[in-house]
């Protein structure tokens, strides 16, 4: 059985007093094996972030089920860690205290907290910065804190919502390599949302390309190349080309209009 199982997922957003409804996600089915790195790729507004937020428990689906290790999710929980594009670090806490946040909530004793946070500080390469506040850190360092904070809870799944979207190109490439290193060491299952084809090709075991709104799976591209991958290789370029073509078709097709409540959703 797969570790993360999403079946028949559907999400309808209701605006105002039910006058306008928006079908955001439709017929979404995905099975993810333990330790897999999945990238969700799609045109903007296709519902990939919504999907991730539903898995995180921050939003609720209209229909369908999500199972993690066979258990239905009903809200946020420490079995899923999330990393945000805007980092979401607590500005009044130091890097270490940010990383220990989840542990504090679970009433882990101070000594143990210290040991765990130290482990993740070293894992993500934050040594020497543990006592810095977020405003003293660069974007890349901030996201290292974000990743360490999510990992400190030892979640089954790591959810990443365009985590490197706010970084410059060089830092972004570096962080992708770092993430792969961290992923190999922790063997986490990763669900990674991005709109960068290049990023997805570099990272993923499987790339899930979504359609325009309502978001459904258009095609899944499995990649079994060894890592680190060579961005300049011919096969890399060919895959990029194929995926870009798929995406372009979706962008041109565009999202469907809002639907009426009288229509059968």
């Amino acid at each position: 059985m797969s570790m993360l199982s999403i079946s028949n997922l559907e999400k309808v957003f209701t605006k105002g007093k039910g006058e306008e409804q928006l079908l955001a996600i439709k017929d979404f089915n995905l099975e993810v094996e333990e330790g897999q790195f999945i990238c969700l790729l799609g045109p903007s507004g296709c519902g990939k972030t919504t999907l991730l937020r539903i898995v995180a428990g921050l939003e609720f689906q209209t229909r369908g089920t999500i199972l993690i290790n066979g258990k239905t999710i009903t809200g946020p929980g420490s079995d899923r860690g999330m990393v945000f594009q805007e980092f979401g670090l607590f500005p009044w806490r130091t890097a270490r205290k940010n990383i220990e946040f989840g542990l504090e909530l679970r009433k882990v004793p101070a000594k143990e907290r210290q040991t765990i946070s130290q482990k993740y500080i070293e894992l993500v390469g934050l040594k020497g910065f543990e006592d810095a506040h977020p405003y003293e850190l660069s974007g890349g360092m901030k996201q290292r804190v974000g990743i360490a904070r999510a990992l400190a809870n030892d979640p089954a799944v790591l959810l990443m919502d365009e985590p490197f979207g706010a970084l410059d190109a060089q830092t972004r490439n570096l962080m992708q390599k770092e993430l792969l290193r961290i992923w190999k060491e922790t063997k986490k299952t990763v669900l990674f949302v991005t709109h960068s084809v290049d990023e997805a090709c570099f990272l993923a075991d499987r790339i899930v390309v979504m359609t325009s709104r309502p978001g459904a799976i258009k095609e899944i591209f499995p990649i079994d190349w060894e890592r680190p991958r060579d961005r300049a290789s011919v096969e890399f370029a060919n895959l990029r080309k194929r995926i870009l073509a798929e995406l372009e078709r979706e962008v041109i097709a565009g999202p469907t209009a809002p639907i009426n409540p009288t229509d059968k959703v």
Binding site: L58, P76, L89, G102, E104, L105, H133, R149
Partner: protein, 274 residues
């Protein structure tokens, strides 16, 4: 040759003006100097007892700490400062103690906001000074002024706290939730620390308004001294230098309390605005 010298001088000047606190100090001293000079000139030109020059006021100020005449209601400046300061602290502490929990509640709970905000909106536009007669009649000249100060400081603290709570970054709330925080822990570990700089901003604004209220309340009829009463009494006695001396003292007290509030603001949230 001359160009190199002038450019060197200019560089040094630019360095002097931009860098260091010393230049800030010079600019401040200059601006105060200009102000005092203008005051001198204006009082000289008008040449009236109602508008004494700075040195006369300074003499009156020095004198106010040693001269008293309780029979006509002139107390020692030290006593007046103590009376005003006590009122300020009592009224302000009261405002803070009430506004903080009410503001947190109204900011965090939707229905508390819906219930509370119409009442707040009715009272907010009434200048605190308009309450002076009511409070003095109802509570007497000793306790009445404290409640005027309370009102003056209450609303700025309240609205800043509400604004702070309501402006909490959604990503922070999401992050806390995904890390396992429930509603109560989100409040204590995210909302409250996030709101602290807003609380301090409210305190700083409240301090300024509180001082205006003290003087107004004391002038309109507080008992037991106070710098406001000192101004009022000396104006009745036609002792204008002393009246101005009272105003200078108010300015100094306002600056000091504001300075303390700002210092506290920096101490409490060094990460703010970054």
């Amino acid at each position: 040759m001359s160009t190199t010298i002038s450019s060197r001088v200019r560089k040094r000047l630019v360095f002097f003006v931009r860098k260091g606190k010393f230049s800030d100090f010079i600019v401040m001293a200059l601006s105060i100097g200009v102000f005092l000079a203008l005051w001198y000139i204006a009082s000289d030109l008008l040449h009236t007892v109602y508008f004494p020059n700075p040195s006369t006021v300074f003499d009156a100020l020095m004198n106010s700490f040693t001269y008293s005449n309780p029979q006509v209601g002139v107390l020692l400046m030290g006593q007046n400062i103590a009376a005003s300061m006590t009122r300020f602290l009592e009224g302000f502490a009261l405002a803070f103690i009430v506004a903080l929990p009410v503001g947190l509640l109204m900011g965090y709970l939707r229905y508390a906001y819906d219930v509370g905000s119409p009442i707040v909106e009715i009272f907010r536009p009434i200048p605190p000074i308009a309450w002076v007669p009511f409070f003095i009649i109802l509570l007497g000249p000793l306790v009445g002024p404290i409640w005027v100060i309370f009102l003056g400081a209450f609303f700025p603290i309240l609205s800043n706290v509400i604004f702070g709570v309501r402006s909490v970054d959604n990503t922070l709330l999401d992050a806390a939730k995904t890390l396992g925080a429930k509603r109560i822990t989100i409040f204590s570990k995210v909302v409250l620390p996030y709101t602290i700089p807003f609380i301090m901003a409210g305190v700083t604004i409240g301090v300024g308004i509180a001082w205006m209220c003290i003087v107004a309340a004391e002038m309109l009829g507080a008992e037991g001294g106070g710098v406001g009463s000192y101004i009022r009494v000396n104006s009745d006695l036609n002792n204008f230098p002393a009246m101005f001396a009272g105003m200078v003292v108010i300015a100094a007290l306002g600056l000091i309390t504001l300075g303390v509030a700002r210092l506290l603001e920096k101490q409490v949230s060094p990460w703010r605005g970054k």
